[in-house]
């Protein structure tokens, strides 16, 4: 019994750690009824990078085994194919922590972990409510299932350190999905704090790049960049934690078409959680700022 509890706590810990990181991967939709476009395939071609993103045709899953698919992507990326670099880097970064799990099991793991005293992820410096953690994880899971299905996760562990360079190359070539993935996995592959500190100038470079990619992706019409910026202001580490900015970006995202299939309770709870850190004047300001961000986003204007 004791061992079972410890296992569940560890599992819930892993889920907590992954929760917010994964939620930003939910497919963007240009309208609530549009098909899911951009999971494993880039949304835009290089020539599209300066214009609004184009919805890509849904990709058919390639009839390859996991190892063959990864090897093929690796070869193509090495040969200079930036689409392959985007996809391979994304798989290495995103799917390394993937596990197929049902909504019910997510709930049970989170509840068990909380009951055992596990610290949930922080939002604006305070623990996220369990319901919010569950909803965020449940929101993220289908996209992860779509993106990572058929991949043997064990084959990704050794290669995670390669993800940032692959994603950076693809993002520099205008691949929006790679920009988003880079913002989440720019620091993959470091062997702990010692390792990061000994390369602190590279850490600083990657951080700047990740922040710039999110703003670039937003200016290219990618609503998920607003979500990831909101998350960065809510929980770090790419931005200094600022509940007012987090509220503004999250509310801008929730206005977008991409968020219309998000459960209303999730949207409400996330904003409520942030609002707890704001007084009335700050909240009013955050709402106004969110509206302005959304208008700028819709107009394709650079974020202020």
């Amino acid at each position: 019994m004791r061992r079972t509890t410890r296992l569940l706590v560890s599992a819930a810990a892993a889920l907590f750690i992954a929760a917010l990181a994964q939620v930003g991967l939910k497919s963007a939709r240009t309208s609530p009824s549009a098909p899911s476009p951009v999971a494993a395939t880039p949304a835009v071609s290089p020539s599209d990078a300066s214009s609004r993103p184009v919805v890509a045709a849904p990709a058919k899953p390639p009839p390859l085994s996991s190892s063959d698919r990864l090897a093929e992507l690796d070869r193509s990326a090495a040969a200079g194919d930036v689409d392959a670099a985007a996809e391979f880097g994304g798989l290495l970064g995103v799917c390394g922590h993937y596990s197929p799990v049902s909504a019910a099991n997510i709930e049970e793991s989170v509840v068990t972990g909380m009951a055992a005293g596990l610290e949930p992820p922080q939002i604006a410096g305070t623990p996220a409510p369990p319901e919010l953690v569950i909803l965020l994880m449940q929101q993220a899971q289908p996209e992860l299932d779509q993106r990572c299905a058929g991949i043997d996760v064990k084959q990704l562990w050794e290669g995670q350190a390669r993800a940032p360079a692959l994603l950076e190359r693809a993002a520099d070539a205008g691949r929006i999905q790679a920009m988003l993935d880079y913002s989440r996995h720019a620091f993959a592959g470091y062997g702990g704090v010692n390792d990061m500190l000994s390369q602190m100038d590279e850490i600083a470079r990657r951080k700047q790049k990740a922040r710039a990619y999110l703003r670039r992706a937003a200016s290219l019409g990618e609503a998920r960049a607003l979500l990831l910026l909101g998350d960065a202001y809510a929980s770090g580490p790419l931005e200094k934690i600022d509940p007012q900015q987090a509220y503004a970006y999250m509310s801008a995202f929730f206005r977008s078409a991409a968020a219309q299939d998000w459960p209303p309770r999730l949207r409400e709870l996330y904003l409520q959680t942030l609002a707890q850190h704001l007084d009335a004047a700050q909240l009013a300001q955050a709402r106004a700022q969110g509206l302005q961000l959304y208008r700028d986003f819709e107009a394709g204007a650079p974020l202020r």
């Binding site: 079972t4 296992l7 569940l8 560890s10 599992a11 810990a13 892993a14 889920l15 390394g96 922590h97 596990s99 197929p100 799990v101 049902s102 099991n105 049970e108 793991s109 068990t112 009951a115 005293g117 996760v153 064990k154 562990w157 050794e158 290669g159 995670q160 350190a161 620091f187 592959g189 470091y190 062997g191 702990g192 704090v193 010692n194 390792d195 990061m196 500190l197 000994s198 390369q199 602190m200 100038d201 850490i203 600083a204 951080k207 770090g236 580490p237 790419l238 200094k240 934690i241």
Partner: protein
Amino acid sequence: MRRPGLALVLLVTALLAWRFWPAPRLPAPDASPPPPAELTAPAMQAEPAPSARPAPAVAPAAAPAAPVEPPLPPHLRTARRLSEVFDELLRRAESGDVSAMRELGSRLVRCRDSSLRRLRREIREDSEVRPGLNAAAQANARRQQENLRDDIADCEAVPDAVRNSGLDWMERAAATGSGAAQVDYVEFAFGAFMQMDDDEVVAEIDEIRRRRDLARRFVAEAMAHCAPRASFVQYYWGDLLFDHGDARAYAINLAAATDAVARLDIAEGAPATIVQGRQRQFESALRGFDAAARAEALRRGEAQFKACAGR
């Protein structure tokens, strides 16, 4: 509580496998013993005691020793709890007492948010009484937990605005030119960084780099003033102090710092195991580089040592 189903068990297994799988590491310096070194490495040289020998012309000229600040009254250094001496230390530090700045700073560094988070984590992780422990060990574990809780409470008693200012006080002390304060700054700043988690490093990277650059300046000044422990700190934190941009230059810097400390060890009669350990580190730092790199590292290490020999 419902029993988890099969799917959850599979999930748990998969997640645990992921969680405990070793993270990919970038290549680390080879710590294995090197082949026998030539008899030019410092540890193998029978050198006269530094005090018996004047510094040669090749050694960098050492600046006059920095002024030494008057010591603090003993109770300010020995009080177990910061709360017992906080007001007095703060008053002295604010009036420009460098020793008080150092003492206050070093105590406050342990109260930083990241340090407290780490203490709380330790308490949480150690809170389960392990069944294998005997009664004495359990009592000892409980005592340690109580001490940790007292440490946290002591820090929490400090006003929030001051609690994270430890490194700022140490910076202020070091900026006065005190060699001891400069050495302290390097040790405490880098020690504090090591308490951070990955996300904190990313979040604070600009401040970390600013402090790293300051540490570089302070350690250079402390070396120039022959401050006690300056050579050792340069060697110990060389991985963070020296620029990694040029691998050869980095290796030479690291090896030179190791060589300087090895010479100090010999001069101070350190045990042979320590001296041999430094020699292995010297060789390891230069593995893969040519004889010219080795000679340059030895030349610089000797110069660093001789600049302060006998002082």
